[in-house]
Symmetry: C2
């Protein structure tokens, strides 16, 4: 084809889009991906091809792209029912524009090589920051780009949105697990385990810890104590409360956030516990708390650490969460088509009873690098439980069931083909 003809064709061809997943996976991460892909497909003619970066922003830096266009509609649809991150995700934080200047230039180079007009970056507050900076540098370089953030995190700690996709499903999982394990403890307490400790995620924010509180509906119901990362651990008060609970109820269920800190602000799980191989114990605050109870009060204990199980538990996803995750993916594309830049679609709560929500829009500058902890009004005065206000906020987020399809007794999850996009650059990224 003559150069002139190719230029004419390019002028008529719609520009492409790039989607990337960032940070920890969730049960509904791929539902957002599905929303983005389906919305782009529906916008045929206005957006060219939708690429996905392999392993998040690293794929963009390395020009390691996936062509989602070739993926059959049924496989894309099945993403709604598949946990994890279908294109791969990563933990890789870009720093400031000055400090990581070369990396941002590289990103723009890759975007330009593939004629990317829209960049959808699906992640937490770090990703919002990266997206914002990318919009700034592309503007500075005169490269036209809509950089759109798409929220995601089980931690529920993004500002500017009523809640974060991924959280509702993890919350439903941990609250269900608390209720179920508590029935087990209750059944055996007369001769066996008196105290059960469940560790949930949350290094800085206690949203998942709080969600476990939803398992209790009557006085005396488990969980009896929640240990929030927002409150310093007070051993004496904690033990006194455990003792009172066992004496009154017969047993005690404790939920502890992985990020629980002692009076000095140190993570309890990093206090220098040593395992059988002589290594410092990393993580695992539940065993510490459980053994403390056993040593000081003499109660037999058990403990569980849900770890990745809680953020991958698509089998018990919240239908509300799923709907929001999908809607946010679609909304991101809508914002992009409207030419919006440096923004993020968010969840706005219209009302709690009945629960109604809609998609709003937040500037990335208001979201980036900020963290939303549990409001003080959501924790009871004694620091060990959630208030009615917290309960009202949380309750709708775990509403509804959306089970995946099952095959041979197990959830049937899709695996995409992830067709690679041919590289156009001769340069190589060295991170």
């Amino acid at each position: 084809m003559a150069i002139a003809a190719r230029k004419r064709q390019a002028a008529h061809r719609a520009r492409n889009a790039l989607y990337a997943q960032s940070g920890g996976a969730t049960a509904v991460f791929n539902a957002t991906a599905c929303g983005v892909i389906e919305a782009v497909r529906a916008a045929r003619g206005r957006i060219g091809r939708l690429y996905a970066a392999r392993d998040g922003i690293l794929g963009a830096l390395h020009e390691n792209l996936i062509d989602t266009t070739r993926e059959p509609a049924a496989a894309v649809r099945a993403l709604r029912a598949t946990p994890g991150a279908a294109f791969g995700s990563c933990r890789y934080k870009l720093k400031g524009l000055e400090e990581d200047h070369a990396k941002y230039l590289r990103l723009v180079e890759v975007l330009r090589a593939h004629d990317i007009g829209w960049f959808f970056y699906n992640g937490g507050n770090d990703s919002a920051d990266t997206t914002l900076k990318l919009s700034q540098i592309s503007a500075r370089l005169g490269y036209p780009l809509c950089a759109i953030g798409v929220p995601k995190t089980i931690d529920n700690d993004l500002v500017g949105t009523d809640c974060c996709p991924g959280f509702g499903s993890a919350a439903k999982y941990v609250a269900t697990s608390t209720r179920e394990a508590a029935l087990d403890v209750a059944a055996m307490a007369s001769t066996s385990t008196r105290v059960f400790v469940l560790e949930v995620m949350g290094r800085h924010a206690g949203w998942l810890t709080a969600a476990c509180g939803l398992a209790a509906t009557h006085a005396g119901d488990a969980p009896h104590l929640l240990l929030f990362p927002e409150r310093r651990f007070d051993e004496a008060r904690f033990l006194a409360k455990v003792k009172r609970t066992v004496e009154r109820v017969g047993y005690c269920v404790v939920v502890v956030a992985e990020g629980l800190r002692d009076a000095q602000g140190q993570f309890l799980a990093e206090q220098g516990s040593v395992d059988a191989f002589g290594h410092r114990q990393l993580g695992g605050v539940a065993p510490l708390i459980a053994h403390l109870v056993q040593a000081r009060l003499g109660y037999k204990q058990h403990w569980a650490v849900a770890d990745y199980l809680q953020r991958a538990a698509r089998h018990i996803a919240s239908k509300t969460d799923l709907a929001q995750a999908y809607a946010l993916g679609r909304a991101a594309v809508r914002l992009g088509l409207a030419g919006r830049n440096a923004v993020m679609p968010v969840i706005e709560r219209i009302s709690t009873l009945p629960y109604r929500w809609r998609i709003g829009e937040a500037p990335l500058a208001a979201v980036a690098n900020r963290e939303r902890k549990l409001p003080a009004g959501f924790i009871t005065a004694d620091g060990f439980n959630i208030t009615p206000a917290c309960r009202r906020y949380l309750a709708p987020l775990i509403e509804g069931e959306a089970p995946p399809p099952y095959r041979h007794g197990l959830p049937s999850y899709v695996r995409l083909r992830n067709w690679p996009v041919r590289r156009r650059l001769r340069t190589v990224f060295r991170g």
Copy 2:
């Protein structure tokens, strides 16, 4: 009422029955209870009142009985969907007839006081032993009693039955969790966690460890290594296999049984690890394995300990398991009405493809105090995975979904009223 009149009435009144739950709770323990209660209700006129012992055999010894007759049919029905042990369970092993003679006499005294003609004891191999001895001593004392065992254990280690109620649901939970967590690890492996270790129950038998193997359907699928309690831990071979897996697949998912032992036969989890409070670490072999991998191979790791979550997870119960648990409860009553004694209804597998089963009957003497481990033919030659034969055996046991009702986003579980039965004895048991 005159004594003569009372005697006449007693002669016409059907004798009562006693049901007790023993040992660790399961997701379908109460489904068996439901089967027993519903079958007794259907046998109106032939069996008088059905009592349940509060907290298992301890309730029988203490004459702490519950009258199930007053429980509404809907509540009884809801037991099918409720994990735990609705009447309470306990760990309390009666020893030999000579050694614990006084306790057995006490049991017969309580049974006699309440005119119990049938004793249904729902538990594992210890309970089968107690039931057997109770049948022997009641015969010796001339007290007419049908003592019937009813199988239950997530460990799947009872002999005389193809499988044990409770196991299929726990198996479905751990296999699902393995598959889900593996998707999370796969998504992040390029920059984050390379090795994930899930600890499952099984102190002596590796059935639940094996069940996790069902999560893999293609070559390279997780789980990549299973550490069975039937195989001594060989650190060098384990590490070599982890390394090969990470190099080939990009990540490695390990499932470890709580009862993993070292070359000397010592439980790994009891090797003298010390926590932050200076106490010996009890339980938690997953963190040991994960930290070993990190220290020796340098891979970032995460680990989870499911603990009670796996045996209480009614929300993802196996429909097959649920049906069998219920059927065994009903069958126990059928055996009792037929005057059988010292027996246990069991699951017989008629065929695997298609899966068909029926209820059979095993003498308690063949079940008591015996333990069924994984057959050697179910573990691959390298000791790290399951064979096709194992897969064929396990697959039907996790088939089918039977979700509980949900209310406000969480499984809705029944709580029985558990009306106490008035004591008839003046004597008190001191255990």
